[in-house]
């Protein structure tokens, strides 16, 4: 037996004959933050729903907190916390009542809830909002309360489906701080996101999936080093396209021109920078390669949805 908290092996899920998840395998070790990345429609949410036992897979096996899913999904869910993509706090209740009611769904005794709830409100920075109605909370407060709610059963595995979508930068940083605290406490996290900065900050290991298949999986830095040239020069402006065709294409290891921007990927950017010095009609940015470059390289630039 491995120490994997979640083990997905050859997962297949089809809708009307079309595979949405197509032979996906990955394993999450205890204490790590595993990021599941992919464009819209890549199969992230379907994978999560299979793991929770809400839908039955058409193939493959899932083992969550040591239990087979969907067979023992109910028992497995007792030890898992979920932060869904869309807020679904109970609007008829206060912050505290939301935690109590949710705790009851797990069958947690009143005395134990009374002990846990102050700590969770404290963790979420919502002590002063204990008796506030959900309708009066801001978007960031709601997300923090949803995160606190997902911890009511002291889960071994925390599953977060795009936890910071729609939040402002301040609220996102607060959520990230909270998640880092949980990782320091030794919790295991499965995170789906399409914010690359979020994945880069939090995830110890990543899987990039597209069309329901795993394309690459490793530590974030290793993935970038493996798939993308280390340096990027982004060139913008009216002349960027012309410059890209005449100079960029020859000097960069790889170049992508879209609209009025040329993305040049290079091991050695100096020759590119030299030609840009005397170039009029362009602005440029020289930076190290990041996860977004990797993501775009692996999943392409065309729009999804």
């Amino acid at each position: 037996m491995s120490d994997a908290v979640l083990k997905v092996d050859g997962l297949v899920k089809r809708y009307g004959g079309t595979p949405v998840v197509d032979g996906l395998s990955f394993a999450i070790e205890r204490g790590e933050c595993f990021g599941l990345l992919g464009p819209n429609g890549a199969g992230k949410t379907t994978t999560l729903r299979c793991c929770l036992g809400l839908i039955d897979p058409d193939g493959g096996t899932i083992e969550m907190v040591g239990l087979p899913v969907p067979l023992a999904a109910r028992q497995a869910r007792i030890r898992v916390g979920v932060v869904p993509q869309m807020d679904n706090l109970d609007p008829d209740f206060t912050a505290r009542e939301n935690l109590i009611i949710y705790g009851r769904y797990f069958g947690i005794a009143k005395a134990e809830l009374d002990r846990r709830i102050p700590k969770l409100l404290d963790f979420a920075g919502l002590q002063s909002k204990e008796h506030a109605s959900i309708r009066t909370l801001s978007g960031g407060m709601k997300r923090r309360l949803t995160l606190a709610r997902a911890l009511i059963n002291d889960p071994e595995l925390l599953i977060l489906d795009e936890p910071t979508t729609g939040l402002d930068p301040q609220a996102r940083h607060l959520i990230w701080d909270g998640l880092r605290q949980l990782l320091n406490q030794g919790k295991t996290i499965l995170l789906t996101t399409h914010f690359m900065d979020e994945a880069e900050r939090l995830a110890t290991r990543l899987a990039v999936i597209d069309h329901g298949k795993l394309i690459a999986s490793d530590e974030p830095r290793a993935l970038i080093a493996q798939h993308v040239e280390p340096e990027v020069v982004e060139v913008y402006g009216d002349e960027a396209r012309a410059w890209g065709e005449t100079h960029g294409r020859g000097l960069a290891d790889r170049i992508e021109i879209t609209g009025e921007t040329a993305f040049c990927y290079a091991r050695d950017p100096q020759p590119l920078l030299k030609t840009l010095l005397g170039q009029s009609g362009v602005r440029y940015l020289h930076r190290p390669a990041n996860l977004e470059d990797l993501f775009i390289k692996l999943t392409g630039r065309e729009l999804r949805d």
């Binding site: 009851r104 769904y105 069958g107």
Partner: protein
């Protein structure tokens, strides 16, 4: 493929969901009860006293008591229908409360079962309120009337299940209008709420004999008069059969809607 036709899965985990609904109801209990019983009470008093002054007796009952028993059953029907459509739809679709619950050890089968029992609970609450008014007006003849409460529960299960079928199919709130105009209004007019079914032409009587509300009224009226209803078990069986079959259909349709 998830088998949506499998038999219902039963566990006691549904109770916290029922309790959640009870807690919400308690916050607005008085307004909620008034909302559920205002209509039937107005009908009972206005028509009961108004028309009742021309027709003092109907089938050996004071007309107001006659219409009162009709209203008890009608309120069980409407209360469960509202709860299973508008309120359940808010929880399922608008607030995504069900989505939050099924991420816990509670399954969708448990959630739907809790909602079903809750629709019937609401029916018992409004039946109790109307029955108290009838008794206060002096129209209760025996302790047998207490059996109208479990009857209210059964009627609630029956119409709550119909309503949950509509809920599982509804794209939006407007959809529920069909249920009122095509189901509940004909049911109200053909089941003997305002006048005995025997007054109607044979063809309509045949239709009425298939309507669950008619069977409910056939139980409620004798009970209020202090008599054991004729063919009691047949009436109960009809109501129970409608309830169980409709609940299974609602469950299959709800699984189809949410477990994908």
């Amino acid at each position: 493929m998830t088998n949506i036709y499998r038999m219902p899965e039963f566990s006691l985990r549904w109770t916290p969901v029922w309790r959640r609904n009870l807690l919400v109801w308690r916050k607005l209990a008085i307004a909620s009860v008034l909302g559920n019983i205002a209509d039937p009470l107005l009908y009972m008093l206005a028509i009961g006293y108004g028309i009742g002054s021309f027709i003092p007796e109907m089938n050996g009952m004071k007309y107001i008591a006659f219409i009162g028993t009709g209203m008890v059953c009608q309120s069980a029907m409407f209360t469960a229908s509202f709860e299973g459509m508008y309120s359940a739809f808010s929880r399922m679709f608008m607030q995504r409360t069900w989505d939050a619950i099924i991420n816990t050890p509670i399954s969708l089968d448990d959630v739907l079962f809790a909602e079903w029992i809750w629709t019937a609970t609401k029916s018992v609450i409004s039946v109790t309120a109307i029955l108290l008014v009838i008794l206060a007006l002096g129209y209760g003849h025996s302790g047998l009337a207490i059996w109208i409460l479990p009857l209210g529960f059964l009627v609630g299960l029956c119409f709550g299940a119909f309503a949950l079928i509509m809920n599982a199919l509804a794209p939006g709130y407007d959809f529920f209008t069909y249920f009122f105009t095509l189901m509940l209004t004909p049911m109200l007019l053909l089941s003997g709420v305002f006048f005995p079914v025997e007054q109607m032409p044979a063809a309509l009587q045949a239709v009425a004999s298939a309507l669950p509300l008619k069977h409910a009224i056939d139980i409620a009226r004798p009970l209020l008069m202090g008599r054991i209803p004729d063919a009691l078990f047949l009436h109960i069986a009809v109501l129970a059969a409608y309830a169980v079959v409709a609940y299974y259909v609602a469950l299959v349709l709800t699984r189809r809607r949410l477990l994908k």
